[in-house]
């Protein structure tokens, strides 16, 4: 259906364009055109595209909805209200209608499949015909509007500007989509689990039993162990990336010769470009065993999925982030301040410590905040190198788990539809999103104000 529809649309568009242009050329022989013929063609194209696409965008979901409802009605009206049953039955009906059903269908199912098939065919024909009619009407309208004085270019340009605006809005739509998807599921989650238990519970084990009579069927959803785990790994990472990244940035901005920069900058960029799955592999297979055996020789009991290994590698991951942001910030400190300090006989390091860094303080703090938000939201390193069990501990040698690990663990693989466990992943996503968002908004504001201060 879709293929036919869009092939037809392409044809209509071509026809419209050439007719429009030919018409303009014909008129252009006798009078002076306001716009070039191509714009006239373009105008016709737009008057075809808009209605036909709108019909498709509205008509297809509507047709789908009607078809499915009718088919379900024919099968078992009760299935209409039960979301879980609905999708299961629909899968069977569609499979049967497409001739891919394996096994012996029941009479009711056969009936439903027939309804589905016939309605599907009907709505398809209806849509195709409608599209054709709309397209032809569009061409007719476009051609009627054309004349020598017609400002086709302005119309086309207004349309193009609309498209550009729509493209810019995609970012906003994405944000809305994120907020909506995590928020709706989170609300549904809070219908099952109280927000108080969620935010302040000390125990995390989302395993809900499949049957209600099994023990521990409720699961427990206290995120405190996840918060401590995430923070522990993040702090280890910041403990590494903060000083190293900052000192690297200072060296790059204040001391490095152009030749050294030409060597060190790509180095940091390469590190920044290494996918986190690769770093996770390194953390899990090389660093974690190394730390474990090192710990053993020192007589320490180190978990094989210790927070330390994940934290160290994550720290290394965000070094380039900290250093490039801080480098920018330090470079934005006006040279006149440095000159003022050198002019009084301060050494370079005194100037950096007492003048440049204090002047860049706000910017550097926000750079660290951005880096921290990145560490909190990082997934693959912790998925591969950190643990699954929600231990409430601050011991870096023990295994801890994080928000991202739990989201991944819950949502990958077979999900129970609509269970508290599945929904809890979205609630975690909600907390994660708003935590990082807050950090980012504050940090970006600080950076912006900082930039303006010295511009």
């Amino acid at each position: 259906m879709g293929v036919v529809y869009f092939t037809g649309l392409a044809l209509l568009v071509l026809i419209g364009f050439f007719f429009g242009r030919a018409r303009a050329l014909a008129v252009g022989h006798t009078e002076n055109l306001h716009s070039r013929p191509g714009y006239h063609g373009g105008f016709v194209v737009i008057s075809v595209l808009l209605p036909v696409l709108a019909l498709f965008a509205l008509g297809v979901p509507f047709a789908q909805y009607v078809t499915e409802n009718q088919a379900l009605q024919a099968y078992d009206p009760a299935a209409l209200d039960d979301a879980f049953k609905r999708s299961a039955v629909l899968r069977d009906i569609i499979a049967l209608a497409n001739g891919q059903f394996s096994g012996q269908p029941t009479e009711a199912l056969r009936r439903a499949a027939d309804t589905y098939a016939s309605l599907h065919a009907w709505t398809s024909y209806l849509l195709l015909t409608g599209g054709l009619v709309f397209g032809l009407l569009g061409i007719a309208y476009g051609l009627r509007k054309l004349s020598a004085r017609f400002r086709a270019r302005n119309s086309v340009e207004r349309f193009v500007k609309g498209l550009l605006f729509a493209a810019a809005c995609v970012a906003v739509l994405t944000t809305i989509g994120i907020v909506a998807s995590v928020l709706l599921e989170t609300i549904r989650f809070f219908e099952r689990v109280s927000p108080i238990d969620f935010l302040f519970g000390l125990h995390w084990s989302p395993q809900t039993a499949i049957r209600a009579d099994q023990e521990g069927s409720s699961g427990s959803f206290g995120i405190v162990p996840l918060v401590t785990g995430t923070l522990l790994i993040t702090f280890i990472a910041m403990f590494i990336a903060g000083p190293i990244g900052l000192f690297a940035a200072i060296y790059m901005a204040e001391y490095a010769t152009p030749r050294f920069r030409a060597f060190a900058k790509p180095l940091l960029e390469i590190l920044a470009g290494i996918p986190t799955v690769v770093l996770g592999f390194f953390a899990a297979l090389t660093l974690a065993p190394l730390i474990r055996s090192l710990g053993e020789t020192l007589g320490l009991n180190v978990a094989s999925e210790s927070a330390l290994a994940a934290g160290i590698v994550m720290g290394m991951m965000i070094i380039p982030f900290v250093s490039s942001l801080s480098d920018d910030i330090i470079n934005a400190v006006p040279q006149s301040l440095r000159d003022g300090s050198y002019g009084m006989g301060a050494t370079k390091s005194e100037t950096i410590k007492k003048v440049v860094l204090p002047a860049a303080f706000g910017g550097i703090v926000s750079a660290l905040m951005l880096a921290m938000s990145r560490a909190v939201g990082e997934t693959m390193i912790v998925v591969m190198a950190a643990g699954l069990a929600g231990n409430l501990t601050f011991n870096p040698f023990e295994a801890v788990t994080t928000f991202t690990v739990q989201i991944k663990t819950i949502l990958v693989g077979d999900q129970e539809f609509d269970s508290a466990k599945t929904l809890s992943a979205f609630a975690l996503g909600f907390v994660l999103f708003f935590f990082t968002l807050t950090l980012n908004v504050i940090a970006l504001q600080v950076v912006k104000r900082y930039r303006e201060q010295y511009d």
């Binding site: 270019r153 340009e157 193009v160 500007k161 550009l164 605006f165 493209a167 809005c169 995609v170 970012a171 906003v172 994405t174 944000t175 994120i178 998807s181 995590v182 000083p243 190293i244 000192f247 060296y251 790059m252 001391y255 060190a264 180095l267 940091l268 590190l271 470009g273 996918p275 986190t276 799955v277 690769v278 770093l279 592999f281 390194f282 297979l285 070094i319 380039p320 050494t347 370079k348 390091s349 005194e350 950096i352 939201g377 990082e378 997934t379 693959m380 591969m384 991202t404 989201i407 991944k408 949502l411 990958v412 693989g413 992943a425 979205f426 996503g429 999103f433 990082t436 980012n440 970006l444």
Partner: protein, 604 residues
Amino acid sequence: MTDAVLPELRASSFASDDAKARIRARYRSETRFRFYGLLAIGLTAMFLVVVLADILIRGLPAFTQHWLRLEVTVNAAEIDPKGTRDPAEIRQGDFQLLIRDALRAQFPEVTDRRGRRSLDGILSSAAADGLRKRVVADPSLVGQTLDVPLLLSDDIDLYFKGIGTRIERHPGRGILTSNGTTGDVVLHSSSNDFAPYLDAIKRALSVRARDIRREADRLRAIVSKLEARKAELDRASKIGTLSGGEYPALVSDIESLGQNIKTLDADAAALQARFDAVGSDEKLDETVPSQLVAINGGLVKITQLGNSTATGTVLLPLQSTADAAGGTWQVVSYLTPEAGRRVNDREVGWLERLKEKGLVERAFNWAFFTSGDSREPELAGIRGALVGSALTLLVTLVLCLPIGIAAAIYLEEFAPKNRLTELIEVNINNLAAVPSIVFGLLGLAVFLNFMGLPRSAPLVGGLVLALLVLPTIIIASRAALKAVPPSIKEAALGVGASHQQAIFHHVLPLAMPGVMTGTIIGMAHALGETAPLLMIGMVAFIVEPASGITDAATVLPVQIYLWSDLPEIAFQAKTAAAIIVLLVFLFVMNGTAIYLRKRFERRW
């Protein structure tokens, strides 16, 4: 006047020793500070080098594979009993049997069932595929004897690559005699040739004894904790509080742990005693490093070791019982105990024999690039993942390049200065910093659950990645547009072009290199992204590469993640090899971006 203060201070300023010392200290602190900066960059560089080297060392062996070249008789009775020479008929034939027979023919002395089974295990389960294909293509080969390369199983491959155990060979000094050529034999050396090995084994025993004692100590700590708890409960019960069901469990735990500790202590003591008895014979079992003796063309596995005499089982028959002079025989030590190895000593004997005969060859592992995923490490390849990545990136590119450029043009050229524009800009900046896994949640909730698009499909993966990299591309494109001087636009406007014409005809083409650079960097980012794709189910086990954007597929980074989780050691190398491929792609992409930036960099 306060003026007097100044000269007074000056007088003591630079001339004094004190002041000189202070200046020296200031310069020392300067040097130190500078050194910290260098150290930070050095540490970063070191980490990068270590990661890359680690991946290379792990991954490079996976690019080659070991094959066994055998003469295989294509027995008509097995393959084509009816004699039809019909390819369809031949395809059904048991080629596995043929190659097994060929391999067994190499070792006629192996007759026991267990031995035969482990002999069969040397070959990959798909070893016969090549032969089958060849015979099906050319039925006239039935009945002939062919020289066929057979793929070895992953463990054997690893053995030949030297991964899994360290092997040490030391030639013997004295004259070694054996009292037999097969079965159990006694080896006697004219000097104390076996003493160092005996020492090594005893040392290994003492290390194990230490480990066991440490484990026992750990259990003791647990027991004392439990006992403290028990005491607490005892006190509580005296006061009258009910202790519930915890108490009996506690008591039984303490008891069983106590038993364990006793056993462990006994084991440790026994091992320690063996270590303490210097020079006494040791029985070698599968928990200590294996010692093999290569003598007179045969191989003997030592089961009991003394300083100069050893008892052992013959793995490969000796040619004679003649005395072997010093230097003509050697002790081969496998430092990983047999229990911790995937290839046992008997198989080692066979493999060494095959290698001696020159039947084992190493070849580039083309299958790694041409086959899909598999549960068998020696068969697994990344073709499916490469195709999946390509399709996904295609969708991403098609979506986010036009949208990214359009959004950038709007924001840079047409957007009025108002609240909405500001909102969009803030939005884009924040979106660039949203954790990638959140985009995965968006994909799951909106594209899969709400819109009903197929799971695991490159279409959905591409959509999610497009949203993920869109901010990057918009930001880069805006920078590129901004870098075009306004004079260009003004010139176009001056000759009567409309605003849009000026931008699409003049500004955009000039900004294109910058846009492309940003796009390539964004695509490289998308290529390495894993987490959001896990969310939308691109973790399925997929053998056949996807043929369209709605088929189930996986991508390279996800394949890496999946393989890294598998227990087989051979998959570690495969994972690292897949990482190498991924990194090569990324370096090429980023290199192209840097080249473009350099090539088209313009000073206005």
